[in-house]
């Protein structure tokens, strides 16, 4: 029993030792900043007199003041609504295309499958800033080939960087960037369906479309749920693309998305306390949404399992 006596000691401590670097990094760069943000969200600067001289500006407790300000702040609310509208375009179109491409890749006798798969996945490797920059130029009437063609064909030339079309222009960048990744996730789970599952249906004379709708899509439902979930989170946190398009148009306010609003409050207005409360609200909204969604998805899966 010597091994048994020696083992518990080394084994017991080992997992904690292996997790030590991650724990330290988590404490320093996740827990501490989050705690600090929460702390700041309850603070404010109190200015006495003209705010001149030392001691005139003091940090004091603010209670819920920052939060009530944030909730009643129209900029933040408008940003949330804009992002919601944008997300209503991005998520269905992106996941619809990803599912379509995955099903097509998974069907028999497809030509150029490796090439097209790689090409559609390629935008994943391209930074959002560069993607927005490339599309941004394609939206500019002066340099875009699309406008050139529209002009030659004497068709109306919509301004893609203003009003309603701006949402489409922005959504297109996200769809372009995200479809490939989601396609790979769905395609991977399609590949893991055993071939026998289709054989019977094929023998019964089911068409590829019927097989896709009745067998494949239900079987990849869990990965659809997963991609849906991550797409929503990514959409709510959009920042890079509108920031990059901003220099190309005047119709993008600095507070277009909630994250841009937080940035503007923190670094342009210099009100880190207000910004912290907004960041906390966004984080809470994300968490509530995430857990609510995952619970609903779990419940449905359980219901279907018991059915």
């Amino acid at each position: 029993m010597t091994t048994a006596r020696r083992r518990p000691y080394g084994v017991k401590g080992a997992p904690y030792a292996f997790l030590l670097p991650a724990t330290i990094l988590f404490a320093l760069f996740f827990a501490l900043p989050i705690g600090y943000a929460v702390y700041l969200s309850f603070r404010k600067v109190h200015v006495s007199g003209l705010g001149l001289g030392s001691g005139a500006r003091k940090e004091v407790w603010a209670g819920l003041e920052n939060y009530t300000d944030a909730v009643t702040d129209n900029e933040l609310l408008d940003g949330a609504l804009r992002v919601l509208g944008y997300g209503c375009i991005v998520v269905p179109v992106m996941l619809g295309l990803a599912l379509l491409f995955a099903l097509m890749l998974d069907s028999d006798k497809v030509r150029f499958a490796p090439f097209t798969r790689l090409a559609i996945f390629l935008p994943y490797a391209i930074p959002g800033v560069v993607a927005a920059l490339m599309w941004g130029f394609l939206y500019l009437p002066d340099v875009s080939p699309f406008y050139y063609l529209l002009q030659k064909l004497h068709m109306p030339q919509p301004n893609l960087l203003d009003g309603g079309p701006l949402y489409l222009a922005m959504a297109n960048i996200a769809v372009w960037g995200g479809t490939g990744f989601n396609m790979i996730v769905i395609y991977t789970s399609l590949q893991s369906i055993p071939a026998e599952v289709y054989e019977a249906a094929k023998l019964d004379g089911a068409t590829p479309l019927q097989i896709a709708l009745k067998i494949k899509i239900p079987m990849v439902a869990p990965s659809l749920v997963l991609t849906f979930f991550f797409s929503i989170i990514a959409t709510l946190q959009v920042f890079n693309e509108p920031m990059t398009l901003k220099p190309l148009t005047n119709s993008l306010p600095l507070t277009w998305s909630p994250l841009m609003n937080v940035y503007a409050d923190a670094f342009r207005k210099g009100d880190i306390y207000q910004a912290a409360s907004e960041a906390v609200i966004i984080a809470l909204a994300t968490l509530v949404l995430s857990f609510g969604f995952l619970r609903a998805a779990n419940r449905r899966q359980k219901q279907e399992a018991t059915r």
Binding site: P127, V130, T188
Partner: protein, 301 residues
């Protein structure tokens, strides 16, 4: 003639589905899927193709010629880009390579430790630690970045390489992938056998488990490399000295300046083209052995 071979196969098996005879082309290639995928590929390659062509144009050509015709200014554009602020562009590329390369390497090391521990040991607090780490994925980057900036400012570390590097070493998603991969690739009895032989836990990890985890760790590395290379928010908040900028931030500032002087457009476009080039090259090389399946958490055991 491979097409002939492909043609023969379905007709030989065609007896099972002999309800109708199909036109030969349709039995050779599935037209709808092929066309759909080719259209998808055209859509994704379009902006890349445009940026490649546009980078060959001189400033005047950019605004005057049809944009899908190559111009004559590529060499000039690159020369201009090289000259811009004493070649700061290449500094940005180098910085990006440093942030992403070293950052992803450290991140993979930390992920491998954590993933291995979470997958192979049973200990108190395991699931709690894992769930708390995963919650990190859900945190909007800005709720982390702003207080990280303020805290690093207290330590006098902002506007430094470390300020961009340190916060990105721990990747919750990397830990998650490493855990899934370790659980599937490292059999429990192999670890146990190592213990029986009297090997230390560290030795078992480095000699036995780590080699088994390599394919999964390659994925973690590449995932994190792309994530850091593409990151914009964190360096945007942390840095003010453009000598330390990564390429994303550099191009952004170039575009911001270019907005009121279209002469800089060619510089931005050429910069975007050259920035995309290494990524495409990297992508083509790595996709051979990058197990994309793992990216979605699927592991073949």
């Amino acid at each position: 003639m491979s097409s002939l071979a492909v043609h023969k196969a379905p007709s030989a098996a065609g007896t099972t589905g002999a309800t109708q005879s199909r036109p030969p082309l349709r039995s050779r290639i599935a037209l709808v899927p092929t066309i759909t995928l080719v259209l998808g590929a055209i859509y994704t390659l379009l902006p890349v193709a445009w940026v490649i062509i546009a980078s060959t144009k001189s400033g005047r050509e950019l605004f005057s010629t049809f944009t899908f015709l190559p111009g004559t200014g590529l060499a000039d554009n690159i020369k201009q880009l090289n000259a811009y602020r004493d070649g700061v562009y290449w500094k940005w590329m180098g910085n990006s390579a440093l942030y992403a390369g070293l950052g992803a390497l450290l991140s993979t090391v930390v992920s491998s430790f954590s993933g291995y521990a979470l997958a192979t040991y049973r200990f108190r607090g395991r699931e709690t630690m894992f769930n708390v780490l995963l919650a990190g994925v859900l945190m909007p980057p800005i709720i982390l970045a702003i207080p990280q900036y303020l805290l690093l400012a207290k330590a006098d570390l902002t506007d430094s390489y470390l300020s961009v590097m340190l916060p990105q070493i721990l990747s919750p998603y990397g830990v998650y992938l490493a855990r899934i991969y370790a659980a599937a690739a490292v059999p429990g009895d192999v670890v146990e056998a190592g213990r029986m032989d009297g090997a230390s836990e560290w030795r078992i990890f480095t000699r036995v488990a780590l080699p088994m985890m390599v394919p999964g760790l390659v994925t973690v590395f590449l995932f994190q490399f792309v994530a850091i290379w593409n990151n914009f928010l964190l360096p945007y908040i942390m840095l003010s000295d453009d000598e330390k900028f990564p390429i994303t931030l550099g191009l952004y500032t170039l575009l911001e300046q270019g907005s009121n002087q279209p002469a800089l457009y060619t510089l931005v476009i050429t910069g975007a083209f050259l920035a995309v080039l290494p990524l495409i090259a990297l992508f083509l090389v790595i996709q051979r052995f990058w197990s994309l399946d793992l990216l979605s958490g699927a592991v073949k055991s």
